[in-house]
Each structure stands twice: as structure tokens, then as C-alpha cells.
Symmetry: C2
Subunit: 449 residues, 2 copies
Amino acid sequence: MLYTDLEEILGKVRASLEADDLAGAVAAIEALRGPDQADLFNELDDETQAALLPRLDPEDSADILEELEDEDAARLVTALSPDEATRIIDEMEPDEVVDLLSELEPVHQEKFLAQLEDEAELRPLLLHPEDTAGGLMTSEYLALGRRMTAAEAVAALHTWKPDVEDVDEVYTIDRHGRLTGAITMRRLMTAAPDEILIDIADPEVVSIVAGADQEEAARVMARYDIDSLPVVDDEGRLLGIITIDDVIDVIEAETTEDFQRFGGGEPLDRPYLDSGVLAVVRKRIGWLLLLFLTESLTGSVLRHFEEEMAAVVSLAFFIPLLIGTGGNAGSQTTSTIIRALAVEDLARRGLWRPLLHELGVGLVLGGLMGITAYARALLWGTGTPVALTVAVAIFAIVVWANVLGSVLPIMAHRLKIDPTVVSGPAMSTLVDATGLFIYFTVAGLILAF
Amino acid sequence: MLYTDLEEILGKVRASLEADDLAGAVAAIEALRGPDQADLFNELDDETQAALLPRLDPEDSADILEELEDEDAARLVTALSPDEATRIIDEMEPDEVVDLLSELEPVHQEKFLAQLEDEAELRPLLLHPEDTAGGLMTSEYLALGRRMTAAEAVAALHTWKPDVEDVDEVYTIDRHGRLTGAITMRRLMTAAPDEILIDIADPEVVSIVAGADQEEAARVMARYDIDSLPVVDDEGRLLGIITIDDVIDVIEAETTEDFQRFGGGEPLDRPYLDSGVLAVVRKRIGWLLLLFLTESLTGSVLRHFEEEMAAVVSLAFFIPLLIGTGGNAGSQTTSTIIRALAVEDLARRGLWRPLLHELGVGLVLGGLMGITAYARALLWGTGTPVALTVAVAIFAIVVWANVLGSVLPIMAHRLKIDPTVVSGPAMSTLVDATGLFIYFTVAGLILAF
């Protein structure tokens, strides 16, 4: 059953709850998969969540806690009795437990940690900042001495954590704990029993240091098609692994942030529908005000050219059209460049190549738009001098917008600023004021004020 | 060695090539991983590529062809002798071979296909459209009768395609070939030899029908943390599997398309730096013209209010500021809504919730911006009536932009149009013309023309 049927199950659960039939609600929930159970839980109030969770199979409850937003999961856990809570947390994956514990007050954190089965395994994971490779890793991996035989390795797999099924590779380490190779399950299964691991392991295993940014980990895994990425310390000692499901979550979260920045707001901390009106306002008002103040430069430019406008009123009709087109051309450019910076490692190829590229694109687009604008102005019955002014101005503005649209994101990237900061609304606003200046300067030259 | 050292290797390869030392160039390339080899190949000209590829280890050559853009790989393959080409293609993964063959002329396609080892396996894959789950799947999976024992399954794994290491799961099927369950390698390895597969397989295996959109496949795999997703026909018969690496590529490609649409251009067919100036122009000019024509409505609105403008010239100073702020508020809203549609399945929750949410956000933001605009206008020495006009207009425009910014993407989504179509520049343009209308209407009411 996939998530499309959720509404129906939610109806059943609600009906059961109203009839005080907790067992019925539990049965309906347990028929779902983890992510769907979590979605359904999200629709219930806190009290109902706390009443239902301990009645579910602890493995299901653990899945739900893993899928909920960390903040919500932490709130839910503190509403349970300590015994109930630890019974469920013991079933969660180590990296998810760490994310959950990080949301708790230090006192609560310590209390839970002391009661958990895997305390010793979890403590080192808590040391890594959340947005690094170390913060993403889990301790559920199997590292074997590189001089073991295949038969010994298979025996170790039998005894090691029987509930962990999802292991694709085992790793070999030397006596200092340094990563030396990786062996896939298939290879291990088809090896002769007396083969030594060092002979069947792939020594070219890709790894990442714990302090690396989580986006870097995602990039490496995507680039090299890796399902689980070993994390090592500065001496190359194996600390944990990052699994592909966490990386997909990182990619999704980063994309959401990029989109929201791209639209001219700060990223929301929580899913949209869970964010209150004031939380959303807080993320947007800063940019809106900053852009307003920048945009008010347009007013200054217009006041500066007040006489010219009064002399030729029809010039004013074209203002939104000109600066709008400039903003659009700039937006088209930044969106392409920002994405190319993210996936094509554009910055490494130098500033000049994209700049020249966009200059070329801008000249062609500007020419085409200039011709269109000239025709449109004449159609409106505008006189030839003003039509010519509009055409030349739009040509210059489009070229300028394309140049600005390629240079600014690349410069931001070099200065280690997120390039989405100069995209979308910010780009339009920058082009608006400068575009007006270009327009009236061209008007001055052609109409000879 | 990771991709950061690529420039250095490229230098070595170039030096070897200049010294006519092909063997040296080959050795330098073979020390790299597949994706890095492909990046390096991209920097070489067609002739050099065709000269080097057959000299590399066929497995490396196959990796390179898999990583290159399909179009480039197809051009490269047709430049090789048929024998060289088939020797390399035989080492590629079936889904990648299909992508490559799809780029060839039907005649070439048939010629290559007839010579390939896996012809029988490849033909059915060619039948599925490229952007469906079927188009993404590979035939490298192992399906076993559900009544086999674990020992028989392990024996099958020994004999089945010894070069395929990267298998995480085997699937069980009934006598009609219908998918009945999945077994992880770890589970199979730790099973007693005489256990029957039906007893150890997970019957709740998630699958997808071949005709489903590739984005749907990506969504299901991301949601349920699945590393390989079985693809079935309408009767539930197992046809192939989709592996997670292909899904990450789909997600990356879709994000790039979204970004480019969001910026107001059509997605490029190829990586940015490989796209010629005219190719980029072609993808942008359509939208730029369409937005220009829409934006020229602003001119009509302004002409309509020509007398009002002539009477109170200072009204004109605020035009870019007002419509700019409206566009920004609209952009902030659409970017959030579009992302929420993608990851939170917002559409399912109905139109009203986001609309009311954004109405609330718009009222607060509009109020704050109104106050700011009033202060700014007075600071410029604008008279109170015009300052009041500006304040009320900006309030109304921000509220309107937030409403439009939430309703339009959701409506587009419902009409099965990509919601990014009404984002960024399109949104700004829509708000520009309507915003001007609001502005002059408010001016008419307050200044009583």
C-alpha cells in the first residue's frame, strides 16, 4: 500500500479513536509503512500521539520517530514515560537517535543516553556537528581485520547485530583501525572460504573525513554512485558510514533551501504547513525590506531625471516594461549559472568562460528584444525618437543584466557566499535601478535634452 | 584520488599526447575513477577521444561511456570500429546501453544490438519511454522461484553473472513471474541452507509499474529509503529494477530543470558550458518575449492613467518601487509553495490551507511594508496624500501578490502544468500590471481625481 491511500486510513484511525477503540487505531496504523505512519501521526494532536506510540510495535514506533521532524520527535519522546521512551529509542538507527537526542535539553539527553543499550556506540556520534559528514554517519557498519578469511567474515556477519539486514558492504581495517578496503556482500558470498579479505577487498574505496561538509558527502556519493560512504578521521581511521537514504534527505533539504533563497526569502526551519504565519513573515520580511530600500534607488533615479520625464511623458510608459525585461533576463542568467555552479563545478573553470558566454547570449537576446520593443513602441503610436530610445535602452539593459547575472553569482561563490543570495528578486532589484539609469542616459543622448 | 586533482592529471595526459605517448596518456587516465575519467574525456577533442577509448581497459571505457552525456557517447561510439565498439558496450550496464542505443539512428541501433552479447536482455528494455520507470530500469537483477531453498539461492548467486558485484537484494517470483518478495544479501547469507525463500522473503516489497513517471519512481525510493526498486508490468510480473544511482541522477536533472524554469527560461538540453550561445538563446527568447508582451500591459495601464500621472508627477517616482516589492513578495510565496508542492504533497491537502496561510502572511507583510513605505515617502518630502496613497497601495499589492503567488502554482499543479511556469519572472510580470492598476485605483480614491 502506498501513500496515496493515506486519507482513507486516517479516516479509519480517527473513527476508531472517537469510538475509544485504541486497538483498532493501532491495527490500522501498523498496516502502513514507516514514512506513511509518520505522515498520519503528523495529522494527530500531541496527546493522541503520546497515547498511541507506546501501544505500537516498538519497531514501528522507532520508524515513526525516525521519520518525524526531529523537533516533533523530541517533544513526543519527552511526553512518554522514560521506560516507554527508551524501549522505542533502542530500536532506532544510531544516527537517528543522535539527531533526536541533539534536540533535547542536556539534562534529558544525559538521562536517556545512560539508559540506552547502545550508549557506548552513540556517545562518539554526538561529538560531530550536525551538518558535517560525521554528523550524518551511523555506527551500524561492520569492520573486519584485513587478515581474516572469508569464512570468518561470514561467521562474523552471522553473530553481528542480527536485526540489521541492510548491509551492502563490509570494510577491512588494519591494526590501527585505518580503513584499507571494502567488500560487497555478493563478493563475500561467492568467495572461497579460505580466501583472505585483503585479497578480495577493493583497496580503492572512497571515503570522506568526518569534518567535511554534509553537502560534500552528498556530492561524492552522487558522483561515484556509492550506496554507503565510510567516514574516517584525519588519520584515516574508520569512524562510521553514511548511507544513501540520509544523502537523499540532505539533497532534498538543500534544494528546498536553495529554492526559498532563490525566491528571495530565508529558508524556513520547518515544513511549510507546520510553519506559523509569523514564522514565515520573519523569514521574508528582512529581504523584503532590504530589497525595498535598494529598490527605492529607482525613485532617486527618477527624481534625478524629473525634467526629462516631464518633457517627454511617454518615456514613463516604458519604465516597467524596460526594467521588467532586464530583471527577467538577469533571472534567466542567474538561475542557469547557479545551477551550473552546483552541478558542473563551474567556478573551477574560471570566471571568464561563463561571462563571455552570457555576453554573447545577452548581445543576441538584447538585439532581438530591441527590435521587438521598437515595433511595439511604434504600434502604440510612439514617435520614432522615443521608439529608438526604448529599443537601444532595452538592448543595453539586457546585455547588462546578462553580464551582472553571470558575474554576481560567481563572485558570491568565490567569496563563499551562497550564490542564491544574488538571484531572483535581488537580481531584479539591482537591474531595476541601474536599468533606469541606462534608459534615461540613452534618452538624453538620442533625444538630446 | 578524488576529482579535485583532475586539472593536474589533465595536464599530464595533454603532455603525453603532445609527445605522442599514447600509452602514457592511457596509464594516467586508468588511474582515475569512472566519473573523473569521463570529466577528463570531456576536455579532449573528438578525435583524441576516439583514439584513446579503445586502448583503455574495456571496463574503464564502458564506465566513461556511461558517464558521458548520451549524445556525446553515441557520437564517440559511431567513430569507433564496430568490433571495438561492441567490445566496450558489452561491459556497460544494460540500462546505460539502452540510453546510448536510443541516441543512435535506427539502422546503427539495430546493427550494434545484433552484435551484443546481451541482445535478448536489452531488447525489452528498449520498449519503454525514456522518462518512465521502465526507461530507468536495468535487467541486472536476480529473480528466484519462491520455493527454492537458501542454499539453492546462494548457488544461483555463484553462477549468475560473476562480474556483477553490486546486488543488494534478490527477488522471489511465482510461476507466472509475478513479484512476491525481496530478500537482502545479509538475510540470505545468514539463513539456514534448507530454509525456503518464501519464508525469509519480505512480502511487503514496494514496486512500481513500468509506465509510471520517472519522478514518481524517484519519489517512492526517496520516501521509503529503497536502494533498488523492482519494476513490474500491469499484471505484477517483474521486469527489472531501478537502482538508487539512477534516481539521484533523475533528482539532479529535475532540480536543474526546475531552477531554469524558475528563472524564466526553458531547461537546457545539455550541461551549461557545453551549450552554445544560440542554444541558450533559443531556450530563453520565448519566455522573454512572452513576458515582454505581458509586461507591455503595464504601458497600457499607464497610458490609461496618463492624466492622473500628469496631474501628480510624483506618483510616477514610486512605480518601480511598488511593482518591484509586489514582484518580490510574489516570488517569495511561489518559491515556498512550489517546493512544498514537491516535497510535502501540498496539493492533496486542498487549496484553502495554503491560500489562507499566505493571506495571513500577506496581511502582516503588507502592513509592515505599508508603514515603511509611508515613512520613506515622507522622508523624500512627498506630501501626506501621496505618501498615504503609496502606503495603502503597497499594502494591497503585497496581499494580492501573496494570494496570487499561492493560488497560481497550486492551480497549475492541478491542471498538470509544471508550477514553476508561474514562478519568478512570470509572477513578477503578472504582479506588475495588476499592481499598477491597484496603485492608480487607490490614488484615484485618496487623491480624488
